[in-house]
Amino acid sequence: MYDLLVVGSGPAGATTARIASERGLRVLLIDKRQELGAPIQCSGAVSGHALEEVGLSPEGEFVQEAIYGFSIYNQEGQKTTIDYRQLKPDEYGTGEGKKPLGYVVDRRRFDRYLMTLAERAGAEVWLKTEGPGLSTLPDGSCRVLLRRFNKELEVQARVLVGADGLQSQVGKWAGMRTHIKLRELASCLQFVVDGVETDGLLEIVTGHRWAPGGYAWVFPKGHGYAEIGLGVTRTMTRQNAQAHLEQFLKESFFKDRFKGLRILEIQGGGVPLAAPLRTQYADNLILVGDAARHVNPITGGGIHTALSGGKIAAHFLSELLAKGKKPSRQNLKGYQDRWLEERGNFIWKLYGEKSKIFKNKDISSRDEQLYQIMSGYFSPHSEYKKI
């Protein structure tokens, strides 16, 4: 019998598994893939603060490039630059005793690294394993049916942790309605490219013309590469992300800069600009990370929120089980309460701001609002900068 069965070894699941193992729980972490992180659906930007908060350091194994700030552009190319090398030159930079603000990570390496740490902390890890269903047992634990390399098997666990991402099936097993509304999932496509110069800044391009209901980005990707992508809200445009990305490359104020680019990788997916799930627990079950929609509804960023949500889940569950309490729906509500207190209430507030902007039907004033909120969001004075 395991204390925790964690489904999905991304940043949320592996962090839950690692910290729960460190705190003495018996943990099984499963993932359906043979290699983690791919296919990549994410640009990979994460703040240094987010890593520190869960006891991680920026290892060369997964860091692709150091980041020192942001440039936010409006549709015409006017920009607000927030470069911490200039704002706080004593703290941020490349010199001795200075540090980057954040990193662009390789999700394949990052996710593998997080899984490795979970294994080193004592968690058991099974790859090529998926779970088609669960049932609750009379003793208060649950039984989960798994398939591992085509073999069917059953595992008993006290708590099932669904960390299976946006496509989460685990919550659905318990009858929860976990799908994301079409208008709250940005449809995204990005190219990793050669031949586009960057300067240690995350560049974000707003404006309905380029990315209706979303934004475009140019991020440094290490080795002189960059990633160029965008996300659109499909209820605000008739064209798909691919068509919008083509237009952004060929017609935007960056068209000369993009002229000689060579495409090295094509990636994409849904980026949630969504509210957290209202109910993230059931009997013997909690959801964490993207599966619980622990995401930033303005930026769509989800690594930081996944890491911190995993830590909250691991602490809560180890305390609950140490007290000998049953992981009933009633008792697991405490996990969500704690998450709301530490993170979620801020995220709900951000979601409120995002919704207000997206409800504005006037495109040019909506564009202006989006530019303002993005520029304010990353400023050193933002109340949200640590989410």
Partner: protein, 71 residues
């Protein structure tokens, strides 16, 4: 609201980037998925909301009416 005509989805695998966005917006119950991180292709869908087709970044999901083609 009257129930919609059930549809079957077809995926152009050549363009599919296996991103799973179609599954993320799908209101079907657990298991309406393919082994390639997409919505199910062999099971009729009676919700027929087409959110999966809309969200697809490369527009590679289409559908056909279950009855007509199955008859």
């Amino acid at each position: 609201m009257s129930k919609k005509e059930p549809v079957l989805f077809r995926i152009g695998w050549n363009a599919c980037i296996n991103c799973g966005a179609c599954v993320a917006v799908c209101p079907q119950e657990a298991g309406f998925i393919s082994p390639f991180d997409t919505i199910a292709v062999d099971t009729p869908c009676d919700i027929a909301c087409m959110a999966c087709e809309e969200i697809c970044p490369v527009t590679t999901i289409t559908h056909y009416l279950h009855e007509i083609d199955a008859a």
